[in-house]
Amino acid sequence: MKILVPIKRVVDPNIRVRVKSDQTGVETANLKMAINPFCEIAVEEAVRLQEAGKAKEVVLVTIGGSQCQDVLRTGMAMGADRAILIETDAALQPLGIAKLLKAVIEKEAPNLVITGKQAIDDDNNQTSQMLAALLGWPQGTFASKLELNGDHAVVTREIDGGLETLKLRLPAVISTDLRLNEPRYVKLPNIMKAKKKPLDVIKPETLGVDFAPRLKSLKVEEPAKRKAGIKVANVAELVAKLKNEAKVI
């Protein structure tokens, strides 16, 4: 069993980003960057499967600029065996990313792909489902539990009304939800070890797919600010305001 984990480098989730004043995008210069939290959960899950003897090799892939090597090193410090950087500074969208990933998957032939459910910058929640479609594989999105049993995976998914369990034929694509696991802290010796693990850099052009973005971004605006509210002194005042001013109860 070989597991491939696509990961993305994003602005640290604790940072509140600002829209650029010329509305061309969001200000990301000099912000702290990190591995997308859902991708970190994906790496953790793959490494746990390996530690449990269910998988032989865990390979990370990311598509992005050369600076993305840092998240690949983080993932290898968590326990992944090696990593591939598809290096490009071009604008990327989920369909193009899924096509590039498919090309890598055709070479690497993993039995399982674990992605995050959503990249917390663009909030698309698409890549995993698109990749599964392009490969003709089943998809287990928003997984909160994953079991591998021979030729199939049993996945429990977080859906709006509760939980759903599916049986998927392998190979399959899984996307992680927050409660799948709690990622480990990486220890210093593992960070040192990860520096020696193989990291291949390839150019997307060598993969022979059209990954040009389809959607045109026209502008990014700041959402309307809520008008400043007031503090009430006690429960009686709150109830009076809700009844007489806001008229919501």
Partner: protein, 310 residues
């Protein structure tokens, strides 16, 4: 050509968010066609035909649509796509699971979670947990879109009288199989459509204490929500989570109790009409979005508030 909406339903009734997606579809053009794919889903198809603004209902009835498996539904939607300029579904876990798979099979982009239709090819959607609103234009021949239900009114469930047509169902893909589900049952209104929501956070401290919210919910006919910290700590089930990665709500009244107001939580509730925050820390960021803030210990607040609602 038509605008195709994929209904979310349980074979009997439409899920509420389908009505919001139909409204978004109506802003794109006419006619609006609704696909009801299920197993013995006549009742749901009849419900869809009665929705105001619906021009036609396509019913795909087959055993392999008994549960909404993306592997089965995607080829069906693709088989109907040649007549469509747009394909829409609610941005629920159903729509988010299905539509990107459809889009990739059609070799087009997917547009997630739109909050506004600017024109037939231009849409607004939130990014970075709602800290930016992105306007995107799609040159693709068919636009595949999920619709954020809080941003569009529900289409009236009655008043329409669309014809129901049955459509051919592609053979089963057979690569995935439904095993079971555990759906939460509750007498309370559904979180995403409730007029009033009361949510609790880590401040509640335990599953036992979390029940203190029920007194208020009973009095106000409110749904109960939660922060991720409360869900992670096991105070309440995951399907109550409000936020960037949980549910998006926009009730008339949102009461946040013992919630600090992290950006990921705000992403799910800051469009509420009136926000009340109760927190013992006067510096809590939740107060920045609250219309009415009350600095108070929640264990004193909840019984007193419940009593005051009598």
């Amino acid at each position: 050509m038509s605008i195709l909406v994929i209904a979310e339903h349980d074979n009997q009734a439409l899920k509420a968010a389908t009505l919001n997606a139909i409204t978004a579809a109506g802003q794109l053009g006419q006619p609006v066609t609704v696909l009801v794919a299920g197993n013995n889903c006549q009742a749901a198809a009849t419900a869809a035909a009665a929705v105001s603004g619906v021009g036609k209902v396509l019913q795909a009835d087959a055993a392999h649509y008994a549960h909404p498996l993306a592997e089965e539904l995607a080829p069906l939607v693709v088989s109907l796509a040649k007549d469509a300029t747009h394909i829409l579904a609610p941005a629920s876990t159903f729509g988010k699971n299905l539509l990107p798979r459809v889009a990739a099979l059609l070799d087009v982009a997917a547009i997630s979670d739109i909050t506004r239709v600017v024109s037939a090819d231009t849409f607004v959607r939130p990014i970075y947990a709602g800290n930016g609103l992105l306007t995107v234009q799609s040159p693709d021949p068919v636009k595949v879109i999920t619709v954020r239900s809080t941003a569009f009114d529900a289409a009236p469930a009655t008043g329409g009288s669309a014809a129901i047509e049955s459509v051919a169902c592609p053979a089963p893909a057979g690569i995935s199989e439904f095993v079971s589900h555990a759906l939460s049952k509750s007498e309370r209104p559904e979180l995403t459509t409730a007029r009033i929501v009361i949510s609790g956070g880590r401040g509640l401290g335990s599953a036992e204490n979390f029940k203190l919210l029920e007194g208020v919910a009973d009095k106000l006919g409110a749904a109960i929500g939660a922060s991720r910290a409360a869900v992670d700590a096991g105070f309440i089930d995951n399907d109550h989570q409000v936020g960037q990665t949980g549910k998006i709500v926009a009730p008339d009244l949102y009461i946040a109790v013992g919630i600090s107001g992290a950006i990921q939580h705000l992403a799910g509730m800051k469009e509420s009409k009136v926000i009340v925050a109760v927190n013992k820390d006067e510096e809590a960021p939740i107060f920045e979005v609250a219309d009415y803030g009350l600095v108070m210990d929640l264990f004193a607040f909840l019984p007193e508030f419940t009593a005051a609602l009598n």
